[in-house]
């Protein structure tokens, strides 16, 4: 909403500088986003009157224009097509700053010789003054413009660009802002006095109005003016409309817009000649009914939309836009002026469904007061009579099925203290609320009955009044205090604890954390498996962000891909995020998962030499350590998945439950995702399952006072025997405290189909120093058990 200060002054005295005014409004809830000073740069520009026009002796398309500037005259060369003797124009003297019509740059005007004639100054277009983009001809000023007066004095203004919050439709009007200013600056707001003569026949003889669907129309008022002469509206109206960002059309339409901006009540003028049967019916549209709106678009209506119809067809989409057939145009003589109040939700739905949002619908959907209709109608009728002539019919139509009593609120003053923490006295409360138009009737010493003015549709209970008090005294007035009440009990969420431990663990392992979009494309989604569990967004912004991901893999592989080209060393990424899994008609399961991906050289290029390429065992090492950190014993089961290398993929299993998946990405997928042709290893673990098994409070084991002994042991087994099986058997023996696999060998010295596994086994007792004999005995038992359970043969010592 743009508010011209020149206009605002009609209703309230402005005593403070613009910046201060803007600041007060902003602080009190009506944000001023910017202030445009019209005429700030108009030094050396005055109102001139064209006194003579002669042809330029050396150029066909130029003229010599003599301009009367009051105390002097100036003759300048002019290229504009619309120079006419007697017109008043803005005239820039040498030294003025103007916007170059072609380059858009601000330049200082100098004397110039144009085709042999010296020109000192120029008559200006709107564009050159920075008023609009119009550069087709000179700006023609109103005839009453005083010749010789600085243009800034005559046309200068300050326009506030305001952001009005949805709860304050009353502030979508100049009067509404004037009321705010009045309350903030302790002045009176003045509302225009409306009076006009009704010299025509009684309106009921000409017009009838029927509200069929009263649930969608709380009030309908109309007046009739016959014999109107349509023409341009006077400059002061045009200027104000332009300042507020509206385009002047003709006097009647301009007046409806002017009064809408003034009062906040949308109005519509019908060409009464086009209203069939002189009858207005406010009803729901029939399904499929059509209308061509004022913007020339043919629209199909649905049965939940409200229309204004004549006896036959719709003539307007109620509260949204008028119909083209009954538009007020040059030949219109009789005006039926509508000022009505429609159901906000209905207007909002209709304008959204038609994708047609207008200044009118904007106001109606926010729920303006039905008390406005008659006031605005009479004001507009008066202006039409004044500026367009004609005769008003006697009386107005006023159908008001939705009348309600003014709202009254019982307001105990302790509510102020309760919400703001400060006391306010009855006098202060009454004064502030009174300045905003609320009527206050004290009910004893500490309670007041407040009657809400009709325009304040947003105020309905004590808390609302408290806000009014706070914003007028200023939020700065409220003290800063510290809460001292009891605290809620402690909360402990093991899943969050584990998750944050994991986050720190991954960073500690040298992985970069990423956070990626939860929404992915269908193609990306398929990377992680079946699509049917995924939820789709009904109104996606793009195909790239259409489905809620069911795994982090699509995102991680995308992030890997987008970084591969510019990262020199290997890439190690992890994300802790949610997988969204359909759960019938209920909200989906939002499962937190940890995902990680590695690819590229294990270390960056270094003079210390290459360290090989990241692969399955890099993530395996991380997953092993992570599980160990959480005190979880897991198995790794080979698995075949379409997306993973068939021989390099594993499920992470605890007990009977799969808690994660890891492996090298299938080379086919690497290629189709357009990743660099190198190994990509990836994993994902379900955090809730980790959390439920994590032994976070793992017990403390005393350190043994007796020495450790370590022995190496190498066995030969079939290649199919998992190393972990062998290792677990060894670990199961008492006195064995650690087992490390340090060599895996297949080759010449081993029979085909076999592999050699070499372990370092650490023995230790908590009660005594182990003897060689004891250890040798243990080793024999280990080998015997291995042989029995895995067919292992001792290789060497």
């Amino acid at each position: 909403m743009k508010v011209s200060l020149n206009w605002l002054r009609d209703y309230v005295d402005l005593a403070q500088p613009v910046k201060e005014l803007a600041d007060r409004l902003t602080m009190s809830g009506n944000e001023v986003k910017g202030v445009e000073i019209v005429g700030q740069t108009w030094d050396n520009i005055v109102v001139g009157q064209i006194a003579a026009v002669e042809p330029h002796p050396n150029a066909d398309r130029l003229t010599l224009v003599t301009v009367d500037l009051g105390m002097e005259r100036s003759t300048v060369v002019c290229g504009a097509p619309n120079v006419r003797v007697g017109d008043k124009v803005p005239f820039a003297k040498v030294g003025a700053y103007l916007i170059d019509g072609h380059t858009g740059e601000r330049v200082q005007l100098k004397a110039a010789k144009i085709r042999g004639i010296v020109s000192e100054g120029m008559a200006c277009s709107e564009k050159e003054l920075g008023i609009s983009d119009s550069h087709e001809g000179l700006m023609i000023l109103p005839a009453e413009a005083p010749v010789g007066v600085p243009l800034a004095d005559y046309l200068g203004d300050a326009v506030l660009d305001m952001d009005i919050t949805p709860n304050r439709p009353d502030c979508l009007s100049v009067i509404g802002i004037a009321r705010e200013v009045a309350a903030l600056t302790r002045k009176e707001a003045r509302v225009p006095a409306v009076h006009y003569d009704e010299e025509g026949p009684p309106i009921e003889q000409k017009v009838s109005v029927e509200i069929v669907d009263a649930d969608l129309c709380r009030r309908y008022c109309a007046s009739l003016i016959e014999g109107v002469k349509i023409g341009d509206s006077p400059p002061w109206i045009q200027q104000r409309l332009l300042a507020c960002g509206m385009r002047p059309i003709n006097n009647v339409v301009d007046i409806t817009n002017y009064v809408m901006l003034e009062y906040g009540q949308p109005l519509h003028a019908f060409d009464f000649g086009q209203i069939g049967g002189g009858k207005i019916i406010v009803r729901r549209a029939s399904e499929g009914e059509r209308i061509t709106s004022l913007d020339g678009v043919d629209r199909t209506l649905t049965s939940d939309m409200l229309v204004i119809a004549d006896s036959v067809i719709p003539v307007a989409i109620a509260g949204v836009m008028g119909g083209a057939d009954s538009e007020v145009i040059g030949i219109t003589r009789s005006i039926l002026l509508e000022s009505a109040n429609f159901n906000p939700a209905s207007i909002r739905r209709t304008s959204m469904n038609l994708k047609l949002r207008s200044e009118a619908s904007l106001r109606f959907e926010r729920g303006i007061s039905p008390e406005l209709t008659l006031r605005a109608l009479r004001r507009a009728t008066q202006l039409i009579l004044e500026l367009g002539g004609g005769t008003a019919a006697r009386g107005v139509i006023d159908v008001y099925p939705g009348r309600r009593d003014p709202r009254r609120i019982q307001f105990p003053l302790w509510q102020v203290k309760r919400l703001l923490g400060i006391e306010m006295k009855m006098d202060q409360v009454s004064e502030i609320l009174g300045s905003l138009g609320f009527e206050c009737r004290p009910q004893g010493p500490s309670e007041v009955e407040v009657t809400v003015p009709y325009w304040r549709v947003d105020v309905s209970e004590a808390a609302d009044l408290v806000e009014e008090l706070a914003r007028i005294v200023g939020y700065d007035y409220i003290p800063t205090t510290t809460m001292s009440g009891p605290l809620p009990g402690p909360q402990f969420d093991p899943q969050v604890t584990v998750r944050e431990k994991l986050r720190e663990f991954m960073v500690g392992c040298g992985f970069q954390e990423v956070i990626s979009y939860s929404l992915v494309s269908l193609e990306r989604l398929a990377v992680a498996g079946p699509v049917k569990e995924a939820l789709r967004v009904a109104n996606p912004l793009s195909r790239e962000q259409e489905y809620l991901r069911t795994s982090l893999w699509p995102s991680l592989l995308a992030v890997l891909g987008s970084n591969q080209r510019h990262e020199e060393g290997g890439i190690r990424l992890f994300e802790i995020g949610k997988a969204y899994l359909r759960r019938g008609d209920d909200l989906p399961e939002e499962r937190e998962v940890l995902g990680g991906v590695v690819s590229g050289p294990r270390s960056g290029v270094s003079w210390l030499g290459p360290q090989g390429w990241l692969d399955f065992f890099d993530i395996k090492g991380v997953v092993d350590a992570l599980l160990d950190r959480l005190g979880i014993e897991a198995d790794f089961r080979p698995v075949e998945k379409e997306t993973l290398h068939p021989g390099r993929a594993a499920e992470v299993v605890v007990g009977d439950e799969v808690i994660g998946l890891m492996g090298e990405v299938h080379p086919r997928l690497v290629e189709s995702l357009d990743l660099l042709p190198q190994t990509v290893a990836i994993f994902e673990l379900e955090i809730p399952k980790l959390a439920s098994r994590a032994g976070l409070g793992r017990g403390y084991r005393p350190l043994s006072r007796f020495p450790e002994s370590d022995r190496d042991i190498a066995v030969v087994v079939d290649t199919e025997v998992p190393a972990k099986k062998v290792m677990d058997i060894i670990k199961g023996f008492p006195l064995v405290t650690r087992v490390t696999l340090f060599d895996v060998y297949t080759g010449a010295q081993i029979p085909p189909g076999k592999k050699s596994l070499a372990f370092r086994v650490v023995y230790q007792s908590t009660t005594h120093t182990l003897t060689d004999e004891e250890i040798q005995g243990l080793e024999r038992d280990i080998v015997a058990r291995l042989s029995q359970e895995t067919g292992a043969v001792l290789r060497s010592r």
Binding site: G421, E467, P488, L519, Q545
Partner: protein
């Protein structure tokens, strides 16, 4: 005899002087002090001397032995020192050479910010809790005083989730505020919590708009909580996160689920209030929306608004590092370019 000893001593020391390695030093030791060394022989020959002379010569010989041994020790030390110096000299390196590459992991800047902000509120007694991102219309809007067809819905352009048609549509939460309702539904006052999480908007993206971003919601409800407490809490937050010297300002603003409503700004640290590009020439930088919990919202969760009052606020997470580091494009956060992420 004594003269011989003196000569021996003089010879031994003159030889010792020129020795420059451990091998020669050992030969020298054997020559004089070894089992068959000259001095040893002298001492061994003492027994043949008359008692009086033996005592004199013996004393002199022992004195010389001690002197030679001391000379030996000194020589040994100095030769070791020399050879160490040589070894050290040989193993000198170019200390400017890079070390073994270390993989450094980092938290995403959003994680860092959430951790920092939550820690600030935790120190003020706030719990940290979380909630669902896929929400019912009821929690995201209805229960927050934003019924269907309410014009304020324009403030939250919504991504809707395909679900069976029903009274209660499913959506991606547009703010973390639904957690106000969920939290109050399952607990009774005192309530004091912050809720960080992802939020979504149906919004064309540009440098200042993202379709996904993080918020931190705050909620405190109990008997006697006032707007003064809201001020105290948020001003403290602003000082701890943006610097001790920051000034904060409350102004009236509108959110349907609070009354009175607040927008908080802090003074611009670039221009110190004079007006610059960062603050859009206002001298103030808006950082969050807040207010006193609307009585309708309290009634909705069966809290009596005449007994309980409270405040709520919502902070955009990315905005904090954006302001702090001068990051001009919010899309960098979830674009995950490592060249960006590695700077934090």
């Amino acid at each position: 005899m004594l003269a011989e000893l003196e000569q021996l001593k003089a010879r031994a020391f003159s030889e010792l002087d020129v020795i420059d390695n451990l091998k020669h030093l050992e030969e020298w030791r054997l020559r004089y002090l070894g089992r068959k060394g000259s001095l040893t022989l002298v001492l061994r020959g003492l027994s043949g001397l008359p008692l009086e002379e033996r005592r004199v010569v013996g004393a002199a010989a022992n004195e010389i032995k001690a002197a030679l041994e001391a000379g030996l020790k000194q020589k040994q030390d100095s030769l070791k020192e020399q050879s160490l110096a040589v070894a050290l000299q040989k193993s000198r390196i170019d200390v400017t050479l890079p070390g073994y590459p270390v993989n450094v992991g980092r938290f995403h800047p959003t994680t860092q910010t959430i951790r920092e902000v939550c820690a600030v509120f935790a120190s003020m007694g706030f719990q940290v809790i979380e909630g669902p991102e896929v929400e019912w219309d009821y929690y995201n809007f209805e229960a927050l005083n934003i019924p269907r067809d309410h014009p304020a819905r324009d403030m939250w352009a919504t991504l809707w989730v395909e679900a069976p048609e029903g009274e209660n549509p499913m959506l991606l939460r547009t703010h973390t505020s639904p957690m106000q309702i969920r939290l109050m539904e399952k607990t009774r006052p005192p309530v004091r919590a912050v809720i960080p999480g992802k939020t979504y908007r149906y919004e064309a993206t540009d440098a200042t708009h993202e379709s996904m971003f993080y918020q931190i919601e705050g909620l405190a409800v109990d008997r006697g909580i006032t707007m003064g407490d809201l001020k105290g809490t948020l001003f403290e937050f602003a000082r701890r996160v943006f610097g001790e010297e920051r000034r904060a300002r409350f102004r009236c603003d509108y959110f349907p689920f609070v009354e009175p409503g607040v927008e908080m700004a802090i003074d611009c640290w670039v221009c110190r209030g004079k007006g610059c590009r960062l603050c859009g020439n206002t001298g103030w930088i808006e950082i969050l929306g807040a207010g006193m919990v609307h009585p309708q919202v309290l009634r909705r969760v069966d809290y009596d608004p005449d007994v309980y009052s409270g405040f709520a606020f919502g902070v955009g997470v990315e905005r904090i590092p954006m302001l702090r580091y001068g990051i001009e494009d919010i899309r960098l956060f979830y674009g995950n370019d490592l060249r960006f992420l590695k700077q934090f």
